[in-house]
């Protein structure tokens, strides 16, 4: 066993050795180790290179707040994660880990030249350096910044792991399982209440895991902890470890990320890697404790310099001495106890250096009995050692002056700048904080959520205080639920209470301008950077933060916020609360994209709606396109056909014989009730009163602004019953709009709306042979011009199936739409297909549908309109029932802007050179005008392969209706295309083809 592994200490299982690799080297640890504890047990402090200066770095903490020891972890192909905190990742046999931000090796890194040139990389470096010349931005600066940005390597392979999410509900959620959380959960574990206790660590216990010396209720802390956990489980409390409360959303919805398999050697079947819990808790107790702050002095980032409390954790929880001859620099009592623990475990503590001159006698006695030298009233001014600290430089402070330096040799330097209550989740609740001058920190004040905060999270110190406060807060949560609880507070012996002071950067006798005194380790921000930012005019902490990037790394300033604030407030000469605290935002710790995506990946990424005829299209080689949530058959290429060839064939076949099209995705709404016709009159622009039963009409729907929102053919199936169709994408929107009007404006109308989109499969037959094909299959109506003229509808039987048959055309040919109960759709399709073989029936997709309708000048809402087009703009003033007293949009249409001359109007365009225009291309009147030209419209629809023998286009052009025959110009990157303005109907303007 290495000299750094202390036998008999820690909670790891040394009888179960585990080995893993770090940068290819095999490292031995034990079951229960993290990567960091195992490396430290092997005397390895150097774990990474810093982001900006590539400085050698080691673990500074032992928990999730770690800013330095970020590694890549790998478990075979695809299972690679960058920036994993070595202090959190548990080891398992075969785990591969790698250090980051180094080339060619961790010990010798070329990028470290940045460190030598550190004077260049000061605050605002990017803003200043990359300002000019402007032309350098795209080719030089941006690629450089992008290459330099980011730590670690993005995974390139697809992640084979699965991720899960689940909703959950509880009465009391306790976040953090240290003494305060345990006591709160115990108090809340009242009969009938659902209590959940979560902790981000692999084990519950929090501080107790690092303080085994405490005696609680007469039991050693760890014995008490296991009996307490057993008692909680027996009382029905759900205890979730490896579960981080990442975010506190509105109304007590807490996001919890549970890591299920990252610690396992063998991945269990059907088990996700992580699960995001959306926990809705009636009451929340935040018991997240406090995080230790570093001291800010030159060289405080050298490997081996770490937080004293973390060193204590490595010893007591993992059985690791971080050094055999450590020194301590502190401004808080807590580090003294760390020193004592390390000394008691066999380390030769070189000195305890305290910035305070007055020290509690109990601590001085403790040091004396262990033979530890005490330097009170001292400052730290530097460290030495290339890849690991080998000494610390300290100076006495006398009446504000820094005295002569002394160098103390050490192989680890334990520091403590005091403790910061963990207020992240409290801040997510929009909670207000109050500055506590005595403790130089923010404390929780008011929160609008049903939430209380207990223990060190609100500035209390010591196990007894945390237990008592947790019990009280747990009780409070129970009482808020209208129940009563009796919380017993356990007695504590060997508690370690204490206080401390908070500092800005420590005083030095060296040039402060050359000091590399780090405040934010992860973003390499120094005290000097913060002062420079203030000198350059940043007055608010929000500006200082963005200028220096202090607190902007993935650790969100867990260690740096208060130190940064203290320095900025000192530089500004204003109190901390006047300088402000930056906002904490979710997630609390870095969270995988997988956890957020959950099940929504691959085939389950998003709903893909398919019609009941989709399977036929798939079997018959259709190419699909997405239309809102639906996938629709786009075209049906035959072997060797291009899209243009397929579409040309489908168009020609439909115009010459018969085409079949799946129109099932059209929205359908059944409007029923005595006031149905009145409702239709009010919703649509068209008049409906005189529309006979079994007749249908094209309906145009506006918003109240007068602009076109939707359209569709509407059939009157009965006196009080309409079959409304909407666009595919508009179905849900139109129904919502109608319900809005019905429920808020016209609740007096006796009419009801039912979505029948998916009740029906809808098949369109179009072409000169459509009636001939269909007639023999229809019972109940003769498909003649007399008995069933264009724009008729009827309930009948088609191929033995109950049907609603419409005679409508979106192609200009004789057209029918057959609606049958949805599951019968494919059966009807196949029946029609067989019956159509004698006519050479051709299946067509949405592209052919688009071409054929454009040739007839039929608009597609959302393509030829964009929310700014009135019926008149679209050439559809005929659809407005002018005699109607009102309809949605009538008043809007009367606005002066909507009746003004020169509005963009829908016209046809024919190019002079016979080329196809690009949809979206801008239009100008005068191509010779200087750039930027005045744009007067754009191409909305354009097709190459139709049946008119030449490309056609629709466009919105200023005053277009009055410009028939004029030439407009469409500037393209390589040339300018001239086109003649025409009407929008390119095919059969007399509608002769509609007749049977």
């Amino acid at each position: 066993m290495s000299k750094y592994r202390v036998s008999g200490r820690g909670r790891i299982d040394t009888s179960r050795p585990v080995s893993f690799t770090f940068d290819g080297k095999r490292i031995k640890g034990a079951k229960g180790d993290t990567v960091a504890s195992a490396l430290l047990a092997n005397g390895i402090h150097l774990m990474g290179r810093s982001f900006k200066y590539h400085r050698p770095r080691g673990a500074v903490a032992a928990g999730s707040e770690e800013p330095n020891a970020l590694i890549g972890t790998r478990r075979g192909p695809g299972r690679f994660e960058p920036n994993t905190r070595a202090t959190v990742q548990e080891i398992w046999e075969g785990l591969e880990t790698n250090s980051q931000n180094k080339f060619p090796s961790l010990k010798f890194d070329v990028g470290a030249v940045n460190d030598a040139a550190y004077m260049m990389f000061s605050a605002g470096f990017y803003y200043k350096t990359f300002m000019w010349p402007r032309s350098f931005w795209d080719k030089v600066y941006e690629p450089f910044i992008r290459a330099a940005a980011g730590l670690g390597v993005s995974p390139k392979e697809e992640d084979p792991d699965t991720y899960a999410s689940r909703n959950a509900f509880c009465d009391v959620l306790v976040i953090g399982s240290g003494p305060a959380g345990l006591a709160a959960a115990r108090a809340a574990a009242v009969e009938g209440l659902k209590v959940v206790l979560v902790d981000e660590n692999a084990e519950a216990g929090g501080t107790l895991l690092s303080e085994p010396q405490a005696v609680i209720d007469g039991k050693p802390a760890w014995d008490w902890l296991s009996s307490e956990l057993a008692a909680l489980k027996a009382a029905g409390v759900k205890i979730m470890t490896r579960t981080t409360a990442i975010a506190y959303y509105h109304q007590n919805l807490i996001g919890l990320v549970e890591k299920l398999s990252d610690h396992l050697e063998v991945l269990p079947q059907d088990t996700p890697r992580e699960r995001l819990w959306r926990m809705r808790a009636k009451q929340v107790v935040l018991a997240q404790g406090a995080l230790e702050k570093p001291l800010v002095f030159h060289g405080n980032d050298r490997p081996g310099v770490m937080l004293a409390g973390s060193a204590q954790t490595y010893l007591n929880r993992y059985g690791v001495l971080v050094g055999t001859s450590p020194a301590v620099v502190t401004s808080h009592d807590s580090a003294w106890f760390s020193a004592f623990d390390l000394a008691d475990a066999g380390a030769k503590v070189q000195a305890i250096v305290d910035t305070r001159s007055e020290i509690r006698q109990e601590l001085l006695d403790g040091a004396k009995s262990r033979g530890i030298r005490v330097l009170a009233g001292y400052t730290a001014t530097g460290t030495e050692g290339r890849l690991r600290v080998k000494s610390v430089r300290v100076n006495p402070m006398q009446s504000g002056k820094v005295g002569a330096p002394e160098t103390i040799s050490c192989d680890a330097l334990l520091m403590s700048g005091g403790w910061t209550p963990s207020l992240h989740l409290f801040s997510h609740t929009q909670g207000k904080l109050a500055w506590d001058d005595d403790r130089t920190t923010f404390l929780p004040d008011y929160t609008p959520e049903d939430c209380v905060i207990a223990g060190a999270g609100r500035g209390l110190w010591g196990i007894a205080a945390a237990l008592a406060d947790g019990a009280e807060k747990g009780q409070q949560a129970v009482e808020a639920l209208g129940r009563s609880a009796i919380a017993a507070v356990p007695a504590v012996k060997n508690d370690r209470t204490g206080t401390g002071v908070s500092h800005k950067e420590l005083p030095t006798d060296l040039s402060p301008g050359k000091a590399k005194a780090f405040v934010d380790y992860q973003n390499d921000v120094t005290a000097k950077d913060l002062r420079l930012a203030v000198r350059e005019g940043m007055k608010s902490i929000e500006h200082v933060k963005r200028y220096t990037t202090n607190g902007m790394a993935t650790d969100q300033g867990k260690m740096s916020n208060i130190n940064g604030l203290n320095i900025a407030s000192d530089a500004l000469g204003r109190k901390q609360p006047q300088v402000g605290l930056t906002t904490f935002r979710p997630p609390y710790t870095p969270t995988t994209f997988g956890a957020f995506a959950g099940y929504h990946r691959g085939g389950h990424f998003e709903v893909t709606r398919k019609t009941r005829i989709d399977s036929w299209a798939a079997e018959n080689g259709a190419v699909f396109e997405p239309v809102s949530q639906w996938r629709r058959a786009w075209y049906f290429p035959k072997a060797g056909e291009t899209m243009d060839q397929a579409v040309a064939r489908e168009c020609a076949a439909t115009r010459s014989s018969v085409g079949i099209f799946d129109a099932s995705t059209l929205g359908k709404i059944e409007v029923v009730g005595p006031d149905a016709v009145e409702f239709m009159n009010r919703m649509y622009t068209n008049p409906w009163t005189k529309l006979g039963v079994n007749r249908c009409r094209y309906g145009l729907l506006l918003g109240d602004d007068g602009f076109i929102r939707d359209d569709g053919v509407i059939g009157r199936m009965g006196q009080d019953k309409f079959h409304v169709t909407t666009t595919t994408g508009g179905a849900a929107r139109v129904l919502n709009m109608m319900e809005d009007y019905l429920q808020t404006e016209w609740p007096d109308l006796n009419v009801w709306l039912t979505s029948t989109t998916e009740q029906w499969s809808t098949i369109a037959l179009n072409g000169p042979n459509a009636a001939k094909l269909l007639a023999p299959l229809v019972e109940g109506v003769e498909l003649t011009e007399e008995a069933f003229p264009h724009m008729s509808c009827v309930e009948c039987t088609v191929a033995g199936m109950p049907a609603r048959l419409f005679r409508v055309s979106f192609t200009g040919e004789i057209g029918f739409e057959v609606n049958v109960p949805a599951p019968m759709g494919r059966q009807l399709w196949e029946t029609l297909w067989k019956a159509g073989e004698q006519y050479g029936i051709t299946a067509y997709g949405t592209e052919t549908m688009h071409v054929l309708r454009a040739e007839k000048g039929y608009i597609i809402v959302g393509q030829d309109t964009d929310g700014t087009v009135t019926p008149d703009d679209a050439g559809m003033a005929w659809a407005i029932g002018k005699a109607k007293p009102d309809f949605v949009g009538k008043r809007g249409l009367a606005r002066p802007d909507l009746t003004a001359k020169g509005r963009k109007q829908l016209v046809g365009l024919l190019t002079e050179d016979g080329s196809k225009l690009e949809e979206g291309a801008q239009i100008v009147f005068d191509p010779a005008q200087p750039v930027p030209m005045k744009m007067v419209g754009h191409v909305t629809s354009s097709y190459d392969t139709g049946t008119t023998g030449r490309p056609i286009a629709l466009a919105l052009v200023e005053g277009g209706h009055d410009r028939m025959g004029e030439t407009v110009h469409i500037p393209m990157p390589d040339r300018t295309i001239a086109a003649k303005i025409t009407g929008t109907v390119f095919y059969d303007p007399e509608n002769a083809k509609l007749k049977i």
Partner: protein
């Protein structure tokens, strides 16, 4: 008639120690909208309509679930749909209402098993325990509108429009496996 088997064809989709998901044969399904004194309609249907949203009633071969202040869904045997429609039509003049046949609109899945409440929590933000046995709700599952019928402590039915069903069934299948692999 060619049968086109797919995920919506009745049959068991997933059956694990945690839960079982079965696509059932589609019942006759009607959307009823009406307000005011409902006596005439109730008389025609031979069923008293539940007045509380989420409440259910059953009589005369019809099962009703109240979805809104003027909205019910009625389930009956497919062969009864025509007679129910005819009976309601007979009282339309006396009590105008809307009764629309939506039998062809939806897929129904039966979900049961010891972990069924957890399975529902995979996709539903509502606490399934808030739906009493013998009640039902219109809610969202995996982002899609569904009707959820609680028939017993660990027995549910879920109705969803056909085109959303494959997506939703996909999650239920994943969930059955995931829950079965869990050690509690």
């Amino acid at each position: 008639m060619t049968a086109h088997a797919n995920i919506l064809t009745p049959g068991t989709l997933a059956d694990t120690a945690a839960a079982r998901v079965t696509v059932t044969a589609a019942p006759g399904r009607l959307s009823l909208r009406a307000r005011g004194e409902l006596g005439a309609i109730e008389g025609a249907l031979g069923l008293s309509l539940p007045g509380k949203i989420g409440g259910r009633s059953q009589d005369n071969g019809i099962e009703a679930l109240c979805l809104g202040p003027d909205e019910w869904v009625l389930l009956t045997a497919p062969e009864n749909v025509a007679s129910v429609v005819a009976a309601a039509a007979a009282v339309y003049d006396a009590h105008p209402h809307s009764l629309v046949d939506v039998s062809a609109r939806e897929t129904t899945v039966a979900i049961d098993g010891p972990r069924v409440l957890d399975l529902l929590c995979l996709g539903m933000a509502r606490d399934p325990e808030s739906i009493a046995e013998g009640e039902g709700r219109r809610t969202l599952f995996d982002g899609q509108t569904v009707l959820l019928w609680r028939d017993g402590a660990t027995k549910f039915r879920m109705d969803v429009w056909h085109s959303f069903a494959p997506h939703l069934l996909g999650l239920l299948e994943i969930g059955c496996r995931e829950l079965a692999a869990e050690t509690l």
